[in-house]
């Protein structure tokens, strides 16, 4: 009687093994028909092509960047001049990118996390939850140039005139406030999606355990769920930050066609934030041969700095992922 029960487990391990390893070990492409092997060759070719494109972008910008980037460019603002040696650097653009990134994520993170919490933990009424999902999806799909145009309507209204420059009753509508607010919408869907993923990955019994000791839902969220989902929240924030610092259309429309800070008023941090400015993307755009400045060497240098930022963000996402996997999750 014990024997039949005992035999299946013995014969089981080989068949239960993860499906992919055995097939990979067993079957190479040698026995395939020619057409299938050609297909596999196309796979390899395209895979290698992707790698080659990425390597080409990095290496090319690295070479150009190292050739043209001088440390002085990072600390001198842009000035008017006739040749590329007279026009200074792009320190204002660099600082502008940092400001826009910080402000944008400072808006997108709390809003995005709040929406994700509401969607996962509350989500009543169901109709509103569905509309919200659709809204987030739609915001992700709105071209940033349309967001920028919408921004001109909002921030040129007299009610919000205090956020930018006003001359003779006409609100300029271009400021760090305007750009960062609209850019936060670009980052919002990424933050929401990532946070939702993190919250959904936490099994239900964790919440039940917390409710059982008398915690309210919001206390559970703040004390247990959010700390657990921290890696995903961080990932969402960094992905959003990458989109913010990489966006150009909104900056060109809402931050101004200047390459320097144009402070408004005199209260220290606010005067810069209310004024127009520039970012690295805007600088690259204007300094490219199709822009107004036409200084390709500086465009390369600024693009190189921008690429370094993007690479650093990518690496940070990787580190967070790996650390989260090492710590382990509830579901494992």
């Amino acid at each position: 009687m014990g024997a039949p029960v005992a035999t299946p487990p013995e014969s089981r391990p080989p068949t239960v093994a993860p499906p992919k390893q055995p097939t990979e070990a067993v079957e190479g492409s040698a026995t395939w028909q020619l057409s299938d092997r050609i297909g596999l060759a196309i796979c390899w070719a395209l895979g290698l092509l992707f790698c080659a494109i990425a390597v080409a972008i990095v290496v090319y910008l690295l070479i150009q960047g190292l050739t043209y980037l001088k440390p002085s460019m990072l600390v001198t603002p842009a000035t008017a001049g006739f040749s590329q040696s007279q026009t200074g650097g792009f320190s204002d653009a660099l600082i502008g990118t940092l400001i826009v990134g910080t402000m944008g994520i400072a808006i997108a993170l709390p809003v995005g996390v709040g929406i994700a919490i509401w969607l996962v933990e509350y989500g009543r009424p169901a109709g509103l939850a569905r509309i919200t999902e659709l809204t987030i999806e739609a915001i992700a799909g709105i071209p940033s140039i349309v967001l920028a145009l919408f921004g001109t309507v909002i921030f040129s209204s007299t009610a919000l005139g205090f956020l930018s420059r006003t001359t003779e009753g006409i609100v300029f509508g271009r400021s760090f406030f305007a750009a960062a607010t609209m850019l936060s919408l670009v980052a919002l869907p990424l933050v929401v999606a990532s946070t939702r993923e993190g919250l959904n990955a936490i099994p239900q019994h964790v919440r039940e355990a917390s409710y059982a000791v008398g915690k309210t839902r919001i206390a559970t969220v703040r004390r247990i769920l959010l700390p657990t989902a921290r890696p995903q929240v961080a990932t969402g924030a960094m992905l959003g930050l990458g989109r913010i610092i990489g966006d150009t259309a909104i900056i060109v429309v809402l931050l101004g066609a200047t390459q320097n800070f144009a402070p408004v008023g005199s209260t220290f941090p606010l005067n810069y934030l209310r004024g127009a400015g520039t970012t690295l993307t805007n600088f690259v755009y204007e300094a490219s041969p199709t822009g107004n400045l036409n200084q390709p060497q500086k465009a390369y240098a600024a693009a190189f700095v921008l690429l370094l930022m993007v690479l650093a963000l990518n690496a940070a996402v990787d580190v967070v992922h790996r650390r989260a996997r090492k710590v382990g999750t509830w579901s494992s």
Binding site: A54, I115, I117, L119, I142, P143, I218
Partner: protein, 331 residues
């Protein structure tokens, strides 16, 4: 046991109150989207109502029309709204269509490769590569396009006789459909790859094993079973990529030549070297004329068309993904 409700979560953070606050936040974001849609269409209305369906038709030079519209706004006597956007729409269709087609094929092969066939070391290289390509800012793609791809096309691919043959109509300098399509492909393919991969990974292993057990080789199993059952993910990834491609303004404005011209496939293969300008870059190019009321309406009309098409594709992607969750796939 310490106090049951620490003061910070006390009456101030009661559950109902938190729910109401979060609900208000959600409603605010939904309201913002509605406000955006309404604003764009209200602002766009004068342009649509003056032109009717002719707005989408062909006729005259777009550049000249935009200029007339702008000047009429400055003089203020009599606003001109006449605008026929076909050259811009046609350019958008060609560039988006070409790029999506190329990206779809290559992304499909690459994602199949990543999920099924690549050795582990190759997979470990390819995944970060795809993520990296997706995160490079579009202005960097544009810069590389302007300084590397465009001169290459202009100096090496387009021959002198070809340039001479159309010299009276348009000058071929390398700023072209081809440059726009190629770079846009590189920009949207990674987006597709990541969604396709999620879809392919969530195919039930039992289905694949069943096929393998019948003696079908891995290649055909992948294409006949995995790719077919991941079709919703493929649709979703494609439409999201289309939405992204339609809205791409900066890169295309830099490499597509930025002249309103409708490349004509009837010219033969040479049409891929012809410059054009899609809808989105037109807004960026004319952004300084926002102050003139009729220009403002025209630009918002372009934005409304972009918004409508992008929203349509996003919605389609959402529907496709919901359909996919019916099969137990969770991408």
């Amino acid at each position: 046991m310490e106090e049951q409700y620490p003061s910070e979560y006390g009456p101030k953070w009661s559950d109902q109150r938190a729910e109401r606050m979060l609900g208000a936040l959600v409603c605010a974001v939904v309201g913002l989207l509605l406000a955006l849609i309404v604003t764009v269409f209200v602002r766009a209305w004068p342009s649509f109502s003056h032109n009717g369906l002719a707005w989408f038709g062909a006729g005259g030079s777009v550049e000249e029309q935009l200029n007339q519209i702008y000047l009429s706004g400055l003089s203020g006597a009599h606003y001109v709204y006449t605008f026929h956007a076909w050259q811009l729409i046609w350019s958008t269709l060609l560039i988006t269509g070409g790029a999506v087609l190329l990206a779809l094929v290559s992304a499909l092969f690459v994602s199949v490769f990543i999920v099924e066939f690549a050795p582990v070391w190759m997979r470990d290289i390819l995944q970060p590569v795809v993520r990296f390509l997706a995160s490079v800012p579009s202005v960097i793609y544009g810069l590389l396009g302007v300084l590397v791809i465009v001169p290459f096309i202009g100096n090496h691919l387009v021959s002198e006789p070809q340039k001479a043959s159309v010299a009276g109509v348009i000058s071929l300098s390398g700023y072209s459909l081809l440059a726009g399509v190629l770079i846009l492909t590189v920009m949207i393919a990674p987006l597709m790859v990541s969604i396709f991969c999620d879809g392919l990974r969530s195919v039930r292993p039992g289905w694949l094993e069943g096929s393998l057990a019948l003696g079908v080789n891995r290649w055909r199993t992948t294409w006949k079973i995995a790719v077919r059952s991941a079709r919703p993910a493929i649709v979703a990834g494609t439409v999201l990529a289309v939405a992204r491609a339609i809205g791409e303004a900066v890169m295309l404005g830099m490499v597509s030549g930025s002249v309103a011209f409708a490349p004509n496939p009837a010219d033969g293969l040479i049409f891929i070297y012809e410059p054009s300008r899609p809808l989105a870059p037109t807004i960026v190019k004319n952004i300084d004329s926002l102050g003139s009321a009729p220009s403002n309406a025209t630009l918002f009309a372009i934005a409304a068309v972009l918004l409508l098409s992008a929203a349509f594709f996003s919605f389609a992607g959402w529907v496709a993904r919901r359909a996919m969750s019916k099969y137990g796939a969770t991408a």
